[in-house]
Symmetry: C2
Subunit: 249 residues, 2 copies
DNA sequence: TTGTTCGAGTTGTACAGCCAACCCTGGCTA
DNA sequence: TAGCCAGGGTTGGCTGTACAACTCGAACAA
């Protein structure tokens, strides 16, 4: 739960999500009308609509004028936190996550890094190279670049700490928005050594720029997964479009 | 333009999007207050909030309590239509799309297809194998499965038709929701022959299930891209989570 | 049988208002 | 100097209302 604040619409959304997961309306079944739900939960229709917008964005229900909402699927949707943190994701699927910092370097930011992290010309950054494991098996190499003030916190962590994002969040570093680019990369010498594959082997690559509530970039990361260990799933609709296709690189 | 209906909040959203793209507020700059915008556009604050929710979902602005919204980026965001249709996407980036149907087969649906398209046990499907090109160069192999009533429409199209989704939409087949899974696949004999690569070469794979406004599946597709031709980009936030990570297959 | 019309039901859009939670700054205090 | 605090500004959450746009089945007509 990335955000546990209890508000009416969150409670309604959580309850409906549970009901859908339990199959109370069936796959392809119809939800009760907004007005129905409003009286049932003792809230206004606006609040119900707010809750339903959440489920809509998650791809759990459709919605169109004139007819009741239809259940699209009962798939469990991950929270923002589980997506951002390898550790939380691994635990959510019942795996034992691990990690080891291979290298931390502090040095002046290059042009791309300054652009991505929106830094001043003379700013320094921390570059962290890390291998991540599931049940002890290496599955991903993570190269993260942090602005100086956050990198300093990361450097102070235990190199064998399972998670970085969790302690960072405990120290007040908030992650709220992330922009991901997913494509394919070929293993370099570091990847091959850390993942136990060959140089040139294909890897699924996710590049990510994460920002805090104020819109300041807090990390710029490049993760490379061994094939078969993960797939990325996205839901989008005419109502909510957050996915797009780009030309390579 | 996936949806050209003119409503107040759409107009406001479009105008703000343009202003942001023009750099009127700068990257990292602050938007005017909701109340400000409301009086400026002559609408209520609720309508402004609706417009801003759109921009928020697209990752253009942040939003948090207590302070004005901040511009996150000025990146052009693709419409749902450009994402769904290879043709529209190609044109939007100034490339010349092409396509050729290699094979259309009609036969009983197997178990996976019945599950994905939510079909009856004895239902038949159309399987379309197609190669897609950019400026004449093959970049993607598309394997789409359609339920019978839609497949019949596809079969009637010109095998060299550049787009299938456009004529389908003209004939009243609506695409509103899509669920995507992105991972890596290895080229089989068909892929190698059509894309001009070797069997076993890595390809970026996107599997997609698209549904209509009523929630009925209209296509189940598997696209395989040559590396370097496309990357998928996603924005998500604590407010809107539509991306997730899955275990491989 | 087929097509049309009608109307009840439902969601979409928009308005207005209220208060809480939160950010930030400037002034005050120790 | 450093820290605290008050207050104005801003967004989040919620309510209530009204009407428009749309779906879908039932009744009806050809």
């Amino acid at each position: 739960m990335a955000d546990g604040r209890q508000t009416m619409y969150r409670k309604v959304a959580a309850d409906l999500r549970q009901a859908i997961a339990d199959g109370a309306y069936g796959s392809g079944g119809r939800l009760p009308a907004e007005g129905e739900l409003a009286t049932r939960y003792g809230v206004s229709r606006g609040t119900v609509r707010q809750a339903l917008a959440v489920l809509r964005a998650d791809g759990l229900v459709t919605s169109r004028r004139g007819t009741r909402r239809v259940v699209l699927g009962t798939a469990r949707v991950q929270s923002f936190g589980e997506l951002l943190s390898f550790t939380r994701w691994a635990r959510s699927i019942g795996e034992e996550p691990g990690g080891r910092v291979v290298e931390i370097i502090r040095s002046p930011a290059d042009e791309v890094e300054r652009e991505q992290l929106r830094l001043e010309p003379d700013a320094e950054v921390y570059r962290v190279l890390r291998v991540r494991t599931l049940s002890g098996v290496p599955v991903m190499v993570e190269r993260t670049v942090y602005p100086e003030h956050i990198g300093a916190l990361v450097e102070a962590l235990d190199p064998h700490a399972v998670s970085h994002t969790v302690p960072l969040q405990e120290q007040g570093v908030l992650f709220t928005d992330a922009h991901h680019t997913i494509d394919l990369a070929l293993a370099d010498a570091d990847d091959a050594r850390l993942l136990g594959c060959l140089v040139g082997d294909p890897l699924l690559r996710e590049r990510r720029r994460t920002t805090d509530p104020a819109g300041s970039p807090v990390e710029w990361s490049q993760d490379r997964y061994l094939p078969g260990t993960v797939a990325f799933t996205v839901h989008n609709s005419t109502a909510v479009t957050s996915l797009s296709r780009r030309t390579g690189i």
